[in-house]
């Protein structure tokens, strides 16, 4: 099998005395869509944030594209990265937040091109053309000059996806991308994600949309209390879970 894009080995994370991630190990391979399920507070968001180094792990190892997140080799040892060095690592990881977090003072297109323009310092004309193409891809080319406040939640989230894609990441992280949306707007965001998965993007998706996990996911990881309880084929995990905790969770969610 090919090398994994994201690889976690014994990842630990505590907030104060509370251990939020306990010994998480998993691999996500190129082109794979991995869905992370689990009850509230189980550490799903925290795990995603560690992958993007928004949180620092306290133990274990985390690799993205063969690079150790947060460290670099210095002789025979590992040197902790400085802020600007982690910024570079982050650019290869796209992140989509539950609350969208678009920049409210910039138009849809400006949001999308902010990374390429400011972080990658690429020429404006080129970046604009790419940004428009991305907005086209999420079905919002006609809204390019709208401010986030003038867009619906679903439209904002699609702009946020385009913004993350603009840096041409090798993996996309989604943290409950549809949880803040009115039910009738969920579909338009899932559509975009389905297309993205079909285009071969590597994705890690925290979601409560069981339909999405089952239909689009290549693998499902179930987390509870900071531990990885069960991983496997979506149909197997969702329809015939082995672990008692998975069964309990699913019976509540699917009830």
């Amino acid at each position: 099998m090919n090398d994994p894009i994201v690889s976690a080995r014994g990842v630990r994370k505590s907030f104060g005395h509370v251990e939020v991630l306990k010994d998480i190990s998993l691999d996500v391979h190129a082109g794979e869509v991995a869905c992370l399920l689990g009850p509230s507070g189980s550490g799903k968001s925290t795990f995603l944030r560690c992958i993007n180094h928004l949180e620092k792990i306290d133990g274990g190892q985390l690799w993205v594209h063969g690079e150790r997140i947060g460290y670099r080799r210095a002789g025979g040892r590992l040197r902790e990265l400085k802020e600007h060095e982690t910024s570079r690592q982050r650019a290869s990881v796209g992140m989509v937040f539950q609350q969208f977090n678009l920049f409210p003072h910039r138009t849809a297109l400006e949001n999308v091109i902010e990374g390429p323009l400011i972080v990658q310092r690429r020429p404006k004309a080129e970046v604009r053309a790419e940004g428009m193409a991305l907005l086209e891809r999420v079905g919002l080319a006609d809204k390019h000059s709208h401010y986030p406040g003038q867009l619906s939640g679903g439209q904002q989230q699609r702009v946020a996806i385009a913004r993350a894609l603009a840096l041409k990441p090798s993996v996309m992280l989604f943290d409950e991308p549809t949880s803040a949306l009115d039910p009738e707007l969920v579909g338009e965001v899932l559509d975009v994600m389905v297309q993205l998965a079909a285009s071969g993007m590597t994705m890690i998706v925290v979601t409560h949309e069981m339909g999405f996990a089952k239909e689009v996911g290549d693998v499902v990881h179930f987390m509870a209390d900071g531990s990885l309880v069960e991983s496997g084929d979506p149909r197997q995990v969702l329809e015939d879970p082995r672990e008692a905790r998975t069964q309990a969770f699913l019976s509540k969610v699917l009830a």
């Binding site: 928004l54 992140m95 977090n101 003072h105 840096l167 803040a180 707007l185 579909g187 389905v194 239909e215």
Partner: protein, 320 residues
């Protein structure tokens, strides 16, 4: 229980605007009072309006005004830059920087501005020579403090350092008003801390920062008159020099007041435009939904294609 007959939708009744009798009464009272005040001021001989007119555009008054404007503009500009630096240091993870910023604010907000001005002006008495060089080693550059500290530089130092402490608090509150999600989104697209501050946080914080900064600027316009104690001739100093000679105190103070009011009016208009600039993207705000179950009040049908509202499984069928 009796009920009035329900309005019928098809009834075509004439519409009358609501009546606000109280507003009319208030308007008459206010207008009357205003007319009386203006009348009393302009018919009272002792206001000496002819003297006011004579000095309003007198060269010493205008040059004082110019100095006031210069001092206000430069002190505010330095104060704002210092304020941003102080706020960023104060919020930094580096404990030394944040303590230093706190101490700065504490000192400059905690001592009277007048004392600070005098202090800078008499600095030569404390520190006769300013020396640039290696500490305890050779010096490259030496200058007499008196040569550097003129009334203007002392005024500038006093006003801007003091202003920096106040602006620091204003900027800090503005920065803190921006949600953590914004900085995280900026980090997630690989922005450095400085880029995040400059491109994401400060432009949004400006909405919170501008109104109190407008206050500070207008305040500064009048605080500049304190420099009278170190003999820098701004507007109020200039008129006081004139009235101490001619004893026309009231009309000359009116001259100064008129200019302060005029400049304040201009500054207020400027503030309006600056506020409007930073209001970009915020004006017609549609709030972000807090939770998934927050039902939308039944309104017009959602402008989402039916297929999009259906389950993703339907979409999958289409893709295959």
């Amino acid at each position: 229980m009796t009920r009035t007959a329900p309005d019928r939708l098809d009834e075509d009744l004439p519409v009358l605007p609501a009546r606000y009798t109280g507003r009319w009464v208030a308007a008459v009272v206010v207008a009357g009072a205003a007319v009386m005040i203006v009348y009393a001021m302009f018919t009272n001989e002792r206001f000496q309006w002819d003297v006011v007119g004579q000095y309003l555009f007198a060269p010493p008054v205008l040059s004082g005004l110019l100095n006031t404007l210069l001092l206000t503009a430069v002190s505010m500009a330095i104060g704002i830059v210092l304020g941003i630096a102080v706020a960023v240091c104060r919020l930094s993870a580096n404990p030394i920087l944040s303590c230093a910023a706190w101490a700065y604010s504490w000192f400059f907000r905690g001592t009277p501005l007048m004392v600070q001005l005098l202090f800078w002006f008499f600095m030569a008495a404390l520190v006769p020579k300013i020396v640039l060089g290696i500490p305890f080693g050779p010096s490259f550059f030496e200058i007499q403090t008196n040569a550097v500290i003129s009334p203007f530089t002392a005024a500038l130092l006093g006003l801007s350092l003091n202003e920096g402490a106040y602006m620091g608090e204003i900027v800090r509150s503005g920065i803190r008003a921006i949600s953590k999600g914004q900085t995280e989104a900026a980090k997630a697209i690989g922005m450095s801390r400085a880029q995040t501050m400059r491109r994401v946080v400060l432009p949004q914080a400006m909405r919170v920062i501008i109104p109190p900064t407008g206050n500070e600027t207008i305040g500064m316009l009048k605080y500049t008159s304190l420099v009278i104690v170190i003999g820098y001739s701004e507007l109020l100093t200039s008129v006081s020099i004139i009235y101490s000679r001619t004893f026309q105190t009231i009309p000359l103070l009116i001259v100064a007041a008129i200019w302060y009011l005029a400049v304040t009016a201009v500054l207020s208009v400027g503030q309006y435009y600056v506020e409007r600039h930073f209001e970009r993207g915020f004006s017609p705000v549609r709030p972000v939904r807090a939770g998934r179950n927050s039902g939308r009040p039944s309104g017009p049908a959602p402008a989402v294609p039916a297929a999009a509202a259906a389950s993703p499984a339907v979409e999958l069928e289409r893709l295959k």
